[in-house]
Each structure stands twice: as structure tokens, then as C-alpha cells.
Symmetry: C2
Subunit: 310 residues, 2 copies
């Protein structure tokens, strides 16, 4: 018996379709690549919707607000409603709201985070560049902490800087200060480049090392992301499919939450990865293996169309 995900094809399409009512789809690497639509992924997702499946867009990306995601979905040909967007920034705001958090949040991040906090009426620091301007040791005299801050939230921030690390670590020196992060993705996929684009995970780990304690993670593979959706929309895990391209977040998230899983190879994960994990004696690696795989989500379109012909 192989542990490899089954290739989704015409022979198993009916079984696959009958196994779920709800679809959670990761975005970058599955639906698009930066600002470029990925093949016929929009058509595939819209056809699932036409079959009566509930669709949710589930992303660890914290840089955009849900409204901005709806706009992006529409621009790339996806049907989408604000209620269907579940971003790590949104989950962060819901998490703090559930805690009745009434202090301020110090943010390392972008406007996607502040807009979601504004939506639930939670105060926060402004997001802006804070480069080192004088001598680094002068920061001891120049940095003033805001006594209202009761949480540090770290998300993606291209203006990550030493003064910001110092502020975050100093707030977190108070053991009552919450420490949360949007996600721990190590890097973003970049096509056709020898460059590596760092992800939020490396910024989070930087703060974690100096704070000497781990953050509460909002994004996949944390189950928090599913509980926010399922509490609101009463989704049964056993009737829900998770689609993703990054196995240590998307697929592990699906497994952690008891969902069906489909991995697409249009992003981070390669066929070689799947083979290596299936061959591994490390059971942790087996958790990264989805039920099904497809080269890309758009491949579903012909499977659905041929089904209608038969």
C-alpha cells in the first residue's frame, strides 16, 4: 500500500465530489500566483460552487483586508463574498474579540491587520516604517513603550526593522502581554527566479527568540482558522475539503481539523516531495500527505466537463 495521494481522475471524480459539501481553498499557489491567475483555477472553483458546494477562501496572507481580497478574487474571475474570505488577520481580530481583549495591539505588519482590528473595534499601533535613524544603542533612551499595549501581533512586514523587534520584545517582557502571529510560513513561492522571498515565519521566529516564548499562531496549520469558519457557518469537518499547495500548512491544517484534502502541485509542493514523504519512516511526514493530488486546480475543469458528457 502506498501512502501517496491518489491522482484525482475520471475514475474517482464521483466518489471525490460526493465526499464534501464545503470547500476551503488556499489562495496563493492554488488560485493565483502573485497577481496572475493560475490556469483555469477560477473556472474549477466556480464550477464547484455551481454544484452547490460552499466555498471559502482561506489564506495565511495577512497583508490585505477581506474587502481587498474580494476585489482581487473578482478581478481574477472568482465569485467571492466578504463572508467567504478567511484571512489570518481576520482570525486574529476574531480571536482577540472572543477574549474580550480591551487593550491595544502593537503590530509588526501591514494594513490588512489594522483594518480587521478596526472592524472589531480593537485599538492598535499604526503600521509604518521605523528604520534605525541614530546609533543603535541610543534606542535604549529613545524608545518609549505605550502602557496601553497588551498584545504583540506579528504578520508580514517589508519594513521589519531592529527598532520594531526591540519594541515587540520589550512589550513581551511583560508576561501578561499576549503574543500572537498571523502565520509561520517560511517563504513565498517566486516563479522563475533565483531569489528567495522571505515569509512571515522568519520575522515571527526572530521576535520569538528574543521574547523567549512562542506565539499563538492564527493561520494554518492552526485549528483556530477552522473554528472561526465552522462556528459561524456550522461546517462539518467530515463534509469539508481543504485544497492547498503547501503541505506543512494547508494539508497539515486539513488533517489537524479532520477534513478531506487535495494538494495541487502548482505552488510550493512538488511530486518529489510527496514521494519523499511517502517513503519516509517519519510518521510526521505522513501527515503532510493529502488524500488526492492534481498538477493544478484547473485540471478539475476537464474532469467535471467529461463527467457531464458521460
Amino acid at each position: 500500500m502506498t501512502l501517496l495521494p491518489r491522482r484525482l481522475d475520471q475514475t474517482c471524480i464521483e466518489e471525490f465530489l460526493s465526499s464534501f459539501d464545503n470547500v476551503l481553498s488556499d489562495c496563493d499557489g492554488v488560485l493565483w500566483y502573485g497577481d496572475t491567475l493560475l490556469g483555469q483555477a477560477n473556472e474549477a472553483l466556480n464550477q464547484l460552487r455551481a454544484l452547490g458546494k460552499k466555498i471559502f477562501y482561506v489564506t495565511n496572507n495577512s497583508t490585505k483586508s477581506r474587502d481587498e481580497y474580494v476585489a482581487k478574487c473578482k478581478r481574477l474571475g472568482y465569485i467571492a463574498d466578504k463572508e467567504e474570505i478567511v484571512s489570518s488577520s481576520y482570525v486574529m481580530a476574531q480571536y482577540l474579540k472572543q477574549l474580550d481583549f480591551n487593550k491595544k495591539v502593537y503590530i509588526i505588519g501591514m494594513s490588512g491587520m489594522t483594518k480587521e482590528l478596526d472592524d472589531v473595534g480593537i485599538g492598535h499601533s499604526e503600521v509604518a516604517p521605523e528604520p534605525l535613524t541614530g546609533h543603535v544603542f541610543d534606542l535604549v533612551d529613545t524608545i518609549k513603550l505605550d502602557p496601553e499595549v497588551g498584545a504583540v501581533a506579528v504578520g508580514f512586514d517589508g519594513h521589519f526593522s531592529f527598532p520594531k523587534i526591540m519594541r515587540a520584545a520589550s512589550y513581551l517582557n511583560n508576561p501578561n502581554c499576549l503574543f500572537i502571529c498571523t502565520n509561520t510560513d517560511e517563504k513565498f513561492p517566486i516563479e522563475n527566479s533565483s531569489l528567495i522571498f522571505p515569509g512571515t515565519g522568519c520575522l515571527v521566529k526572530c521576535v520569538e527568540v528574543v521574547a523567549e516564548r512562542p506565539p499563538v499562531v492564527m493561520g494554518k496549520p492552526s485549528e483556530k482558522m477552522f473554528s472561526v469558519i465552522s462556528d459561524k457557518h456550522q461546517l462539518k469537518p467530515s463534509r469539508t475539503l481543504m485544497i492547498g499547495d503547501r503541505c506543512n500548512t494547508d494539508i497539515l491544517f486539513g488533517k489537524n481539523c479532520g477534513l478531506h484534502t487535495l494538494v495541487v502541485l502548482s505552488g510550493v509542493t512538488t511530486m518529489k516531495d510527496l514521494e519523499d514523504w511517502a517513503d519516509s519512516t517519519d510518521e510526521e511526514k505522513h501527515k503532510l500527505l493529502a488524500d488526492y493530488y492534481l498538477p493544478e486546480l484547473g485540471d478539475l475543469v476537464s474532469l467535471l466537463n467529461n463527467r457531464n458528457i458521460q
Copy 2:
């Protein structure tokens, strides 16, 4: 039997002094605190020198060159010679020289690192701020990698930034590119402040997470620092004392290298820490316990003076 370090006092001073010929002393938190002399530490170290002990200044701090360290020592009343200064930047340069490294080093750090590389004739990138100026995703088009770079070295850098992380991670995507760091200290001690001053360790970890591989560490607790000194000065570990204030670097380094160890409580480590580690069932914690302790190094002066009176 307690595992606690023995308090160095008049009853054991002779046994202590006769156990070593060489002294390796950490600097910040032992000899000084930023730019302030720590009590009579200079007098203590100079007296040990007068007793015929060889003295070495062993620091993980990578920001200053050895010449700058000599100047600082002298300013604070320590006798010092360039050959006695062993900084993590110096060890880095020696390490690369021993490897016959003939490419360029991409540096996240300060001039302490570039000056030591200049001293051994190894090429490197310039150290300068590189803040994000445009949109973060434009970095994919604007960052050009230098094909001559064959190593990434991370040290303390107050101008740590996202573009620098991206450069380092991109160079390290080539498995032949060396990855080294000066040290992994999580933070610097700051007196009388609620602020936390981040150390090199958090910057290193940030790059490590996105590079997905660990660096070779130059500084304490790595044994590399001792081998550079002992190769040059033929020091016997069993005749060498390590003095430090940070147990997970200084004292662990001493233990790793088979040295005698003295912890002073004028920096990072507290008496409470020592008690907790001695009580712990975790044997890793026991490795942090020195042979002797003193509240501060200057306390040695009265022990040495009373000895002369007796």
C-alpha cells in the same frame, strides 16, 4: 551534594589560583556594562596578570574590530594587546582563512566584521543600511545577486532589514554557499530599563528559518573560539579558566572545551538561575553551572589583597 557553583572566598582562593595559568574573560557583563567599567573588574584582571596569568578577552560581540577593543580596554583601565583580543568577528576571519575561502562574503553586520576580513584579505559586501524603499514585491525585480558571493555571515546589525534577509536567503539557496554567524546570543543586558535589547541570535534565527539550514557558529559556546586561541598560544584546557556572566554561552563554552569556570552575577545570570538549574532534573541545565561564582569580578580584588596580607 549540591551542584551549585562554590562561592569563591578566602578559604578556596589558593586552590583556585593554582588551578590555572590562562584566563579567558568575557567582556560585556563581566568587565564592563556598555561603556561603563564594572566595579573593580579592571583591577582584578590586572592583578591576575601580575600573578603571571595569561589574559585573553573573549567576546561574542562582533561590532568592533580588535584594535577598537584594545582602545576600549585601555580606556577602562585594562592592560590589553591586540593578540589578546578574541572576538567572534576575528574567529570568523580565521575560520574562513583556514578554509582557503577565496570568494566574497555577504555580510549582515557592522564594521567589526569587515575590518577583520580585510585583515586576512577576504572580500566582502559593504555594511550599510538597506531599508525597503519601494513596494516589497518589487524586490523580486530590483535585487541583483553578486555571483562572487560564496558565504553569508550574520552578526549584529542595527540596520537589519527585509531586503537584507532576502539577499541572505537567496545566496543561501545555493547549497555551496557557506552560512556562518558570529554568535547566537538572544539579547544584550540593559540595566535599569523595562526595554529588551535584541541580540544577534534573533537575527541569525530569522535568516536560518528562511534559509532552512543552520549556520556554523563562531562565538561561544562553539569550541571554534577556543581552538583559534589555543592553536596560536598553545593553551592547555586543564590550565585555563573561563570567566563569564552568561551561562548558556560563556560557561557552556568553558565546559565544552574542558576549562575551569567562574560565573559572575553582574550580567545576565542571577543567583536564582543557578539555584533553578542546580535543582533541575534536566542534565542539560547542569552544564550551565560553573565551578565557582562571585557577585562580580571586582570582588576578587579583596580576596587577592587579603591573601597577600596573610
